[in-house]
């Protein structure tokens, strides 16, 4: 029977939740890396036992952790525990994210817009998102703050920036959102290994069609009232993008305000907010088997980051947007004031597919019937930053 493994990053550690295919009884392990902010944990599609985790701290900076046994044990790539340290420089620098400034890379930009409108140098702060390759367990991408994309091809031991993104030319117009200037979304096209989508708050969405060498903004159709030119090429606060692997040219976006879709790989976007009670939010995801079924969790507003009316509701559209139904069975419908952050929803590939999300209040909810009903797997974790799920044989 199939199993699922849910990988939860919280403000104070990581947790791994495991169940069989019924998804009724759960085994909870953790906290792993207790006390650290775990921004993201994700497994390799090519090797489910290979997990990557971003461990960060305002005191001690960035750490990358790797597991080769499905989360039972972890190590910093290049410095496995128990290995006698050798004299001389370390073999690897798995937490060394240095922006490219080499002459051969062209013209990586060195400044972006700061909160007061002045230009500010790029400064590495943390890894927001880790996206393992679809085919090669040792290859993994990292989306970082200040916004840039890095790649490791040696299992996370060493990282190199793909500088064409910052070198695109619009960098001086990028600016940090409230959470920092983060590259938070990385989507790999399963049918075209040259194509990658990324999203940055607050710059917008970008696409490469040559494996990261060059990038183009894909923000036509986005409209953001809070920037000087609401229809600008860049500067939009994209919160998250989702794709169903069976239709890689169709993208769904939760923007700061507005839920959007693109049917041409991001070249053009149209709004699909429809009858949502509010179209502000962070997460968006797509059903595993029905590519026109999508999920969002509306949040009241950008100044009140909690669900509206004290009700925790996932909204589902079975029509690719515009027509939304509230999913409430098993979710609190009074006195609930939590948020659901951008990487905190995931969907397994069982039939019916499971939907999972984590809240700022530390609950992780699961639905084993594509959202019709919900149950909390855990109720009292630290605030949840990210949720990923692996469907295992």
């Amino acid at each position: 029977m199939s199993k699922v493994r849910v990988l939860v990053g919280t403000r104070k550690g990581a947790f791994i939740l495991e169940s069989d295919g019924k998804r009724e009884k759960w085994k909870v392990s953790g906290p792993h890396f207790a006390g650290w902010e775990m921004y993201h944990i994700k497994g390799s599609p090519a090797d489910p036992n290979r997990l990557y985790a971003s461990q960060t701290s305002g005191w001690f900076g960035q750490i990358i952790q790797r597991s080769d046994d499905g989360g039972k044990t972890w190590h910093q790539p290049g410095t496995p525990p128990g290995e006698a340290p050798a004299p001389g420089p370390p073999k690897a620098a798995s937490n060394k994210f240095v922006y490219d400034a080499s002459p051969e890379s062209g013209k990586p930009l060195t400044t972006h817009q700061w909160y007061d409108g002045t230009q500010h140098p790029w400064e590495f702060k943390r890894v927001w998102h880790l996206e393992p390759s679809l085919t090669e367990p040792n290859t993994v991408y990292a989306g970082v703050e200040d916004a840039a994309i890095f790649r490791s091809t040696d299992g996370g031991e060493n990282w190199k920036e793909l500088p064409g993104l910052r070198g695109h030319g619009t960098g001086p117009k990028w600016q940090p959102g409230a959470g920092g200037m983060c590259l938070h979304t990385i989507i790999l096209d399963p049918t075209n290994p040259q194509r990658i989508y990324i999203a940055i708050s607050a710059a917008g969405a970008f696409r490469t069609d040559d494996c990261g060498r060059t990038w183009k903004p894909i923000n036509r159709g986005l409209r953001s009232q809070y920037i000087p030119d609401p229809n600008a090429e860049t500067g939009h606060c994209v919160h998250h993008i989702a794709m169903n692997p069976s239709r890689p040219g169709v993208l769904f976006m939760q923007k700061h305000w507005d839920v959007m879709r693109s049917d041409d790989a991001g070249d053009n976007w149209k709004e699909i907010s429809g009858n949502l009670p509010t179209d502000f939010g962070f997460v968006i995801d797509v059903h595993a088997h029905e590519p026109e079924t999508i999920y969002v969790v509306p949040i009241k507003s950008d100044s009140e980051h909690f669900v509206p009316d004290g009700k925790l509701r996932v909204f589902r559209s079975r029509t690719g947007g515009n027509e939304w139904e509230a999913l409430t069975k098993g979710l609190p419908q009074s006195d609930c004031y939590v948020n659901v952050l951008r990487d905190a929803m995931a969907i397994d590939s069982l039939d019916k597919c499971g939907v999972y999300f984590g809240t700022s209040g530390g609950q992780v909810y699961a639905s084993a019937d594509a959202g019709d009903s919900w149950n909390p797997i855990v109720r009292d974790l630290p605030g949840v930053l990210s949720v990923e799920v692996q469907t295992l044989p």
Binding site: G35, W36, S57, G58, W59, F60, G61, Q62, I63, Q76, G78, T79, P81, G82, P85, P87, G88, P89, P90, K91, A93, N95, K96, V98
Partner: protein, 98 residues
């Protein structure tokens, strides 16, 4: 032998107890002690000083012999009591965040 006391999270990363000991060849300075720690425990590289600038991470401070050495030049000799191993060199995480 230089005695170094690490903050709890760095002990966990390095799989050590509260106090570690490192050998320093030549003058005992902030730089040479931190170099020795990073050579002995490479998993700590980047957690005490920035990889590139070698600047102290802002929420960490260095103490020894009841003195705050955080703003000393990296090449300033540490107190004799640290160099002799009588007193430890302390790396402290700032108490911040409520």
């Amino acid at each position: 032998m230089i005695r170094v006391i690490l903050p709890q999270h760095l002990r966990t990363l390095a799989h050590v107890g509260s106090e570690v000991q490192v050998e320093v060849g030549g003058p005992v300075t902030l730089r040479s002690v931190l170099d020795a720690i990073e050579a002995r425990y490479p998993m700590l590289r980047g957690t005490i000083r920035d990889h590139v600038t070698q600047q102290r991470r802002p929420f960490l401070r260095f103490f020894a012999c009841e003195e705050d050495l955080s703003h000393e030049s990296p090449d300033t000799p540490l107190p004799d009591a640290v160099a002799s191993g009588k007193e430890p060199f302390l790396i402290i995480g700032a108490i911040a965040g409520g």
